[in-house]
Symmetry: C2
Amino acid sequence: MKVGILGGGQLARMLALAGVPMGLEFVIVDPKPDACAAGLGRFVQADYTDAGALDELAACDCVTCDFENVSADALEALADRVAVRPSAVALAAAQDRLFEKNRFAALGMDTAGYAEVNSRTDLGSAVERLGVPAVVKTRRMGYDGKGQMVLRDGEDLELAWRALGEHALIVEQWVEFDFECAITAVRTADGDMRCWPLSRTWHRDGILRLAGSLAVPGGLQAKAEALVRRLAEDLDYVGGLTLELFAHGDRLLANEFAPRVHNSAHWTIEGAVCSQFENHLRAVCGLPLGATEARGMAAMVNFIGRMPAPEAWLKLPGLHWHDYGKAAREGRKVGHATLNAADSAALKSLAPRLEGLLDADLLGELDSALGEG
Amino acid sequence: MKVGILGGGQLARMLALAGVPMGLEFVIVDPKPDACAAGLGRFVQADYTDAGALDELAACDCVTCDFENVSADALEALADRVAVRPSAVALAAAQDRLFEKNRFAALGMDTAGYAEVNSRTDLGSAVERLGVPAVVKTRRMGYDGKGQMVLRDGEDLELAWRALGEHALIVEQWVEFDFECAITAVRTADGDMRCWPLSRTWHRDGILRLAGSLAVPGGLQAKAEALVRRLAEDLDYVGGLTLELFAHGDRLLANEFAPRVHNSAHWTIEGAVCSQFENHLRAVCGLPLGATEARGMAAMVNFIGRMPAPEAWLKLPGLHWHDYGKAAREGRKVGHATLNAADSAALKSLAPRLEGLLDADLLGELDSALGEG
């Protein structure tokens, strides 16, 4: 079976690494000559709208994406020729933060207060209504903290308008939360659906730094599963998806969703029976889903900018190294490591040895999330 | 870091799949155009003695092999230019069954009785001394049951001599055993060494059919580790190796060893903290070794000749599919599946669902090896 992937970054790379053992072959399309998934299949260096590239994708058994900002038009044209999973409609639903929030609201999911902003006046009245601090974001094309600013006072409004005012915007209320988490799920074309254990997530400067299959208060898992199920069924979704959430007491606020494999669930490679990458492929290829149960407990550390030298860390029992083979660049996700242990106590006793890979405050957060072990 | 591999079969393929996430790159040399590891690195289709291929290998950081019958001369020439691990000496030690047995004996390891055979007269006196049944094998180039015959009477001797008499031969005494097993170990250049839990193994027609990290009587693990350690230290071995053993009561007889990653330990991909493939690469690249502890319990089924359709089997929780991407051919290893479960009881309850993948007699052997669960 041949799978086409639009995008050749680390997500495509990890998809291919999960798919090759299953006998799948890949056609990977990316305009960048140094796309890090290029070596794991037939690589077509071309724009996503290139006719030759689309012909190669159309000759696959199915097509999927490693990022959500693929042109919906290109995808819809492709969908006339080959199964595109998730669908162009599902991708479009995640491409615009306003439509995304409107959908959450329509599905009865709690969100932070938000307002559409199309003018300087809109911006002022949105902040007046929602209060400060608030966050202004471009409705489209933002990721890893790009295209967003925090608003605290009138001066921030001026700066934000100057920086982002040419785009369609959304203002979101600042959310008080106990912690951030994300639920990753996978759904087949005939509606079979599985969820992995919730990931706890920690961001810095808008970029995910730390995530893991760490304990959350009892009821939240079922609540998160109900939310992601509602969303996936509404979109008739096929493949893996992640819904990012704020937890506050026993409430979960929907923040955003990603119609693809997601960084918060990279720990599933070693920390779950079947990883998000394998199950995404199983779903888009029409194969039965694998079990999503956790295997022990896992914490994942992102490497931003450049890879550390691995020698010292490989000595840690249960540490798994993931170097995406990307050139170093500030703010770029270049790899991750997952520390996996049999249970919470074992992970807690190993976690301090991540010092040097993880800032002290995040080490503290991890230790505290691991509770009494 | 760039690793050269002589041989581009499924072992090279699984090495590359373990190494790519670690940021390793591969140069894979194989004379066959359809070598199944070809897509996972730079593929050089050439004979192992081809000057251009050797130049490409010499430009790597280290070189290893995916099979043991590489010309020792070619390897030694290469070793003047780049680190070859394991060494040509270690490979040569496994290439000749007589020298292999002599080494076992010199190291004080028990083996079946054996005799060197260079003439029809030698064959007769060997069988006279060792008794029937006995097994005659070519000293070199045998694998998967090829180049060997069972001797039960005078007629068998005639047939065997006609079929194999042009080769240097060894006759081995028929061994009574309770079960077959194999110990896989990995050793670094500075002598750090780890062993995985013993694999129970089951062969049919000389080909491994079933293996797994199943329970063995208590003392055997330590005994097997002592044997493989003695062998690895004697050879100043670097990389992964497997020693195949016959267990009889509390005795272990050394049968043969493989100076490479080995089929009996494929279950380590999902069933151990660090797989034999990753640890082999860590050792040959001079990186610290990963933990070799089991993760739950695993049974691996080989697919011989052709791959089954995966759909029915992927439904089994904890089943992992490995399709080597090879064309179907009688007697050829084309893939395997590993069934992994939290413990012996869980594996025992799932194992009957392998019916159809595994012959009834092997299903029975597996069930019985899993004991009371």
